[in-house]
Every structure is written in C-alpha cells, then in structure tokens.
C-alpha cells in the first residue's frame, strides 16, 4: 500500500509547484475582488464554469491552451539547459507565417503541402533560435537580449511582408493585415463541428509526451539536465556544452514555431498580423514552463489552467460587474509568485552548495 502511495505522490510531484503559485495568486485575486466589492467565491465560481462547465467552454479552454503548451515546452527545453532564451514569440510568428505561405502558395497535392508547410514553419523557428545561439557562441551576445530583440523585429518584419506581398484583398478589402486562407482540406479537423477544439490540442499532448521522453529518458535529456545543474562538472564528464546549447535552442525554436503553425492550422487558417502577439501566448507559455519547473507534464497542466483563467475571465465580464482585467491580475500574480519561487529556490540552492562545500553533515 505504502509503495503505491509513494508512487502516486511521485506522479503528483510536478503538480505541486504550479498548484502553489496558482493558489497564492487566487488568494491575492480574492483580496482584490473584496476591495471592489465583489464576492470572490461567486466570481471564481463563474470563472470556473466559464472555463470548464460545458463542452463548449472546455473546448475553448483547450484550444486556447494548445499554443501555450507548445511555447511552454519550447521554453522548458531551453531554460532547463541554462539557455535563457525568450524568443518564443518571434519564432511563433515566423513559424506561422512560413507555414501559412507555403500552405497557400505551394502547388501540389494537399498532403505534401501540409508536410512541407509544417516542416518549413518549424525549420524557420528553429533556425531563428540557432541564430541566437550562434550570436551567443561567437560574439557572446546575451541570449535573452538577442531573442527578445528578434521578437520585435519579427513582428514588424512579418507585418511588412504581409502588407507588401501577401495581403488578402478579397475578404475585407485589405483592411486587416492578413494573408489569404489556407485551403479547407489542409486545416486541422475539429473534434466537434460546433466547438473550437481541433486535433491540434491532441497533437500538443502527444508532443508533451515526446518531450517528456526526450528530457527524462534520452542521452540528450541527461546531458542538458546535467549542463543545467553544473556546466563545469558536465564539461569534465565529456559533455559538449556547445552542442547541447545549439541543440536545446534548436528544439526550443522548433516547438515554439509549431505553436504558430498550429494556430494557423487550427484557429485562424491564415496568418493574421498581430494575432499571435496580442494574447501574449508565448509569455504565458514561459510562465507555464516556469511554474512547472520545466516538467513537460506540469507544463501541460499549468497551460490548461492559465488558459482557463483567460476563458473564465471572459465569462466574468459577461456575467458580473467585475472587470475583465481581473484575469490579468491573476496572471500577473501568478508570474509574481513564480518569480518569488525562483528566488527562494536560487537562495536555497546557494545555501545547499555552501553546505556541501563545507563538507558538513
């Protein structure tokens, strides 16, 4: 019995950290609501219903979670290996744009176009990430800065490209900065015609499992983890740190770009300028990665929770006087508590290292 109890506990371990950060955030959120005169229990009830209560809401939540999961995995792979890259947004944008353009303009049978468009999309994202790795390797340019800057330039470069060359003038007369739609036969099929959920979510879940396997069972996973723990020890153990950095950043870029691809295939069916930026998807994904301590299963769960705060937040504004911004407050608090957690962890780590160095007991 005891053994099974322990096993269950081990399985639940990845849930502990997200649960704590989110729990604290909800407490703070409740205090804020009390100040505005609303009843937090009621509001949270509505929020919960708005996110999970019916198939409709549930599928909206899962659809929203899909790109968060993928960017979250992307961030996890890089951060775990001590590569603090934050280029998820830019990679998503160009992954989406590339995939959309290939899907729209490449001639040939649909299934070939699907494959080439997806591979093209993720390759561009991976390539962008590799470029940052190269800048760091050769010019010691900070990874966080180069990736962040590329987010901005990607956003405007993509917009420019769409407006100048690929603008869809038919549907809205060019009012919206968007490309044409990809053919219907290429889109992700919906699970139920009435709901937003496509197979994209299930693909993301499969990718979660693949990344879990990659990180926890493979040689690469071991090497990246050990490099994250102690780069010097890893160097002495024969791990090629550069290889791990390039590889981790490439995989990270591919995953984030696939988030963009899945949005094109499952949500917008075209590249819409600004659509991937406005929701802050990549950043929420980074949040998901941080709260779950880079554990893919944890990323899956916290992404769904973070998505539910968004879908539930819309419900709040529909049914109560509490403004929509409450969901942003909640998200802000979650970020805050994650950062607090990171600092505590960092301090504890330092303390532990010290204890070990002292050779004490």
């Amino acid at each position: 019995m005891n053994k099974y109890y322990k096993k269950t506990l081990n399985l639940l371990e990845p849930l502990k950290q997200p649960a704590m950060a989110i729990g604290f955030a909800f407490i703070v959120g409740a205090i804020v609501m009390l100040f505005t005169g609303a009843n937090p229990i009621e509001v949270y009830g509505i929020m919960f219903k708005g996110a999970f209560s019916s198939q409709f809401y549930l599928s909206a939540t899962f659809a929203k979670a899909t790109p968060i999961i993928l960017t979250g995995l992307g961030a996890s792979v890089a951060w775990r290996a001590n590569c603090f890259a934050i280029g998820g947004e830019g990679q998503m944008i160009f992954g989406a744009l590339t995939a959309a353009l290939i899907a729209i303009y490449l001639p040939g049978p649909l299934w070939i176009r699907i494959i080439i468009s997806m591979i093209g999309g993720v390759a561009v994202g991976g390539g962008m990430s590799l470029f940052s790795a190269y800048l760091f390797d050769k010019l010691q340019m900070s990874l966080s800065i180069s990736t962040l800057m590329m987010n901005y330039s990607s956003k405007f470069l993509a917009m420019g490209l769409v407006v100048m060359f690929f603008l869809d003038t038919t549907s809205t007369g060019g009012m919206l900065k968007q490309t044409k739609q990809i053919p219907e036969g290429m889109r992700f099929p919906r699970v139920n015609a009435d709901y937003a959920l496509t197979i994209g979510f299930f693909i993301a879940v499969i990718i979660v499992l693949l990344v879990w396997f990659l990180l926890n069972k493979t040689k690469y996973g071991y090497e990246s983890k050990m490099t994250g723990y102690n780069p010097e020890f890893s160097r002495f153990g024969g791990i090629n740190a550069k290889r791990i950095m390039y590889l981790s950043l490439f995989i990270s870029g591919v995953l984030s770009a696939f988030a963009g691809v899945s949005e094109v295939y499952g949500t917008y069916f075209r590249y819409v300028s600004g659509s991937l930026v406005s929701g802050g998807t990549a950043w929420i994904g980074l949040n998901a990665a941080l709260i779950s301590a880079y554990n893919p299963i944890g990323v899956l769960i916290s992404s769904i929770i973070l998505a539910s705060i968004q879908t539930g937040g819309t419900a709040i504004s529909r049914f109560t006087d509490v403004p929509l911004e409450i969901s942003q407050i909640l998200q802000g608090c979650i970020t805050l508590f994650i950062s607090a957690k990171i600092i505590i962890k960092w301090r504890r780590k330092k303390k532990l290292i010290k204890v070990v160095e002292e050779g004490g007991n």
């Binding site: 040689k219 690469y220 071991y222 983890k225 723990y229 010097e232 020890f233 070990v356 002292e358 004490g360």
Partner: protein
C-alpha cells in the same frame, strides 16, 4: 564557565546528527572540535550559531539560558563564525566588507572616515593589520581570511567559531593563523576550532572535544593526550600502518612529452615530460597553483596545449576531446569535487553515470537505461561504503567524504588502466582518507597506473612509487620511493630557493 551547551539533540530522519551532546567553553580557551565528516560537529556549531534549531537542549551563556534562533541572535550574544568559505564581497574593499551590516553612521549617511579608522584601530588592537582601502579581488586567501576574522571581531564577539579554517591555506598561512588564534585567546576571546587536522589541535588547542556518529566520545585536555589517542577516539579504531605491497612494474600507460601551455608569453606548463607505468602510483608534489590543474586540463583536452604530446597506452590523444581521452582508458577524480566532480542538485545515479553514460550498458540508441544505472549506483554505494539512503537522493545530501567516495567509486569502477586523482583527500576525515588510500593502492596492485596530484606531502610520500616535483609549471625533480625525503621535496616545491 562562560558557554555551556547541554543535552543537544538533533535528528534528521532516523539519523541522529547530535545525540545528547554537551559542550563547555571557558573564557580565553581554545577548544578543538574534532570528528569525522558526519560526526555532527558542524551541526552542533550550527545550533550554537542559530542556523539549525535543535530538537531539544539548552544553551547557557554566563549561566543564563539564552535562546539562539538565528545568526543575528548569536551575534548579539557575542558569538561569531569564521566561515570556511568566506562570506565576502570580492568587489568591495576591506573596510566595506568588515563594516557591512554595522556601518557607522554620520548625521545622515555612512561615515566612511570613521569606518576606515575603525578598521585600522581594529587591526592594531588585534595585530591583524590590513589596508582598509584595498579591494578583495586577487587578494591571497590568507589575507581574505584575515578580513573574515576582523569582520567577526568587529561585531564585538567573545566566542569565535573557526570552521576548518586551514583547509584552504598554505603552510605559512596556517602558521600565521594559529598564532593569531593564540593571541586572540590570550586577550580573553574564546575560540572553537572545527578541524580534521590533529597536529593543529595539538599545537594550538587547550582542550579537544571528540565526536563520533553524533555523540560526544571524548573531552580531553590536549596536554594529556596524543594524536594517536585522538585519532583512536575519532574513528573508534586504530589506524593500521600502511604497508604498500611490492608489485611488478609493467608497460608505460601514460606519458607526456614536452607538454607546454603558453599564455601571453608565460608558460603555465613548461616542457613537462612525465610517465606512469602499470603497477605504479606516481605522485606530483607541489604547492597548489603551480600548473597541476593545467596539466590535468591539458591531458583531457579541456585546455589546448601549445606544444608537446599526451600519449595514453601508445595512442596520441593530444588536444582531442574528453570523450576520446576517457575512451582510451583515462579516469579522473578532479581536484574540486563540488565544481568539477559532481552536481549537487542531481541524484546519486545521475552523478554516478557521468562520463560513462554513453557506453554500452548505460545507453542504447540514445536512450539511457536508468534501471541499469540505478543498479550500477547501488553497486558503487555498497562497494565503497557510501553512507546514503537511496540512489534517488540528491548529491547535496551527502557529506563531503561520502561525495568523494562516490566520485572515486565512479572513476575506479570502470576499470580504466589509468587513473588521475587530484587532491583526493582534501577536506575529508581520517576514516574516508584511509579508505581512499586503500582503494588507490588496490588499483595499483591490480596492475593499473595512478597519477596522484596532491599538495599534502605526507600523502604523496605514503603512496607514491615515484614522485615528480612541480613548481611554476616545471618539473623540478624526480624521486623514487626509496630516495625521496620530505626535506628535499619540500625544498624543491617551494622553488628550490629557500623555505620561507
């Protein structure tokens, strides 16, 4: 009695770190706290310094019961601790480091002038002069320690805990420090010295408190005891005199030919030609920082050599990858076990397969066989008697000696014909040291070659069949077991000019 600790209990899981430990300290007394790693001496000191809350037990100062719940309270009660790993800011000056947290204030702001004067006065008072404006960057370890001591004295402490203070010092600095301790005691400060080194105890302490497995096993006046008795109390058994069996020397397994590393016109390694044969322990004697680390790095391709060759078993591996060097039959126990030898936050298993995870039996098609790795780790733990409860526990939960044992186990177990060990017993207790030495000799007796790099001359002399002396990157001399003398090697180690 100035300080009294009574019936201190502290339990971690099922293990007693402290079991009914009592301790007394008089004014002006130097008390040595000795014991193996894991004996509980760090724990009892952490209790005193407010870093660990005991399960039960009382602390009295001047017969008044006190409650020490954090280091601030300890400092308030006049207890200070000189940490083994200095808690200093390298970017700051001596003065800033010393007054940090207790800065003298002028009307509004930090009174820099007064602070400097305070530091100068403090230095004069305790005969530990230091330039208050000097930055800590690049300062020798001995002086940094002096800053740390003055920092503690600046807090008006009466009881000073020294946590293994000599582990990081050169012999000269050690002499200096012991002198300082004596003079501090002479003016009425009470000192607790945590140490492994019994000769220091004999030299400086008035009384020695011996701990073993969390319990106090001895409280003796130093003038009434001997190193032998203390070590018997510590390990609970007599340390046998080691007899190294004669073995037939075989073929050369490791060789460097004119190996040099030149950096900015300075030769860090200068024309080093050494060799190790099968069935030999070859020692490299030298004060730390004379090119030993660079030699290891050059062999493993971690630092590119500018000229010369490294030959393993007849294969030239000069400036190749560490994988290649390891696969050609070299294992390494690095000098700094926490930085280069292990990852504190990783599990014992993850630590145990480092360097070998790519080999058959540990991984296949890029997937690591964690089940086999766990089994392997269990084997290492059993064979090398590593005190641990599970292969899944984190490395940082082991004591220093056990970390070193596991690292050694990992490197020996792969049966590579050649092993490099650097400072294998630094900071470990006598029991672990004895064990490690035995394993090294066993490896040699099995017909493998061992290169032993150590700044502990006794260790070199005890174990080595042949000895090279290194100074400023150059090999200054070669001795056999028979013709080696401590005096001559020591002379060469210090540059062959004079023994300061």
């Amino acid at each position: 009695m100035f300080l009294r600790m009574e019936n201190i209990y502290k339990k971690y899981g099922s293990l007693y770190a402290n079991k009914d430990v009592g301790l007394t300290l008089k004014k002006g007394e130097i008390l040595a706290l000795v014991g193996e790693n894991g004996a509980g001496k760090t724990t009892i000191m952490k209790v005193l310094y407010g870093l660990v809350k005991p399960d039960s037990g009382d602390i009295f100062i001047n017969d008044k019961k006190v409650d020490i719940t954090n280091p601030r309270a300890a400092i308030k009660h006049g207890i200070g601790m000189v940490q083994q790993h200095f808690m200093l800011f390298d970017e700051f000056t001596v003065m800033e480091n010393i007054v940090y947290g207790r800065e003298p204030r002028g009307k509004l702001f930090f009174d820099v002038k007064k602070a400097k004067q305070d530091v100068i006065n403090l230095g004069k008072k305790y005969e530990l002069p230091l330039d208050p404006d000097r930055g800590l960057n690049g300062m020798p370890v001995g002086l940094k320690q002096r800053v740390e001591i003055l920092k503690v004295l600046y807090q008006d402490t009466d009881i000073i805990i020294f946590d293994e203070p000599t582990a990081v010092l050169t012999p000269q600095e050690v002499t200096e420090l012991l002198k300082t301790m004596k003079s501090l005691a002479a003016i009425g400060k009470s000192i607790i010295l945590i140490t492994h080194k019994l000769n220091e105890v004999m030299e400086v302490a008035d009384r020695a408190l011996v701990m073993r497995e969390g319990e106090k096993v001895g409280d003796v006046l130093v003038k009434d005891t001997s190193i032998k008795e203390l070590s018997y109390l510590m390990v609970g058994r007599h340390i046998p005199n080691r007899k190294v069996p004669k073995v037939k020397v075989g073929q050369t397994v490791f060789e460097t030919k004119n190996l040099s590393i030149v950096k900015k016109d300075v030769a860090i390694l200068d024309d080093v030609s050494i060799n190790v044969k099968r069935g030999e322990i070859v020692g490299i004697a030298g004060v730390s920082g004379n090119g030993q680390s660079e030699l290891v790095e050059a062999v493993f391709g971690l630092k590119k050599s500018t000229s010369g060759n490294v030959i393993i078993n007849g294969v030239d591996v000069t400036n190749t990858t560490i994988h290649n060097v390891r696969d050609n039959g070299v294992a390494l126990v690095p000098e700094d076990r926490n930085i280069h030898g292990s990852a504190a936050m990783a599990t014992l298993t993850e630590n145990s397969i480092m360097g070998y995870y790519h080999l058959d039996g540990f991984s296949k098609y890029g997937v690591i066989d964690y089940k086999a790795s766990e089994e392997f780790t269990k084997e290492l733990i059993n064979e090398f008697d590593v005190a641990s409860s599970s292969t899944k526990q984190l490395m940082n939960s082991l004591s220093g000696g056990n970390v070193q044992k596991l690292i050694l186990a990992r490197e020996i177990n792969h049966k590579s014909p050649f092993l490099i060990v650097a400072e294998p017993t630094r900071g470990v207790d006598i029991g672990a040291m004895e064990f490690i030495h035995k394993e090294l000799i066993q490896k040699r007796t099995n017909g493998d070659g061992v290169l032993l790099i150590s700044s502990e001359l006794t260790e070199i002399l005890d174990l080595s069949d042949r000895i090279y002396v290194i100074f400023e990157g150059q090999i200054k001399g070669e001795f056999t077991r028979e013709n080696a003398t401590k005096e001559e090697i020591g002379f060469l180690m210090l540059g062959g000019n004079s023994i300061e």
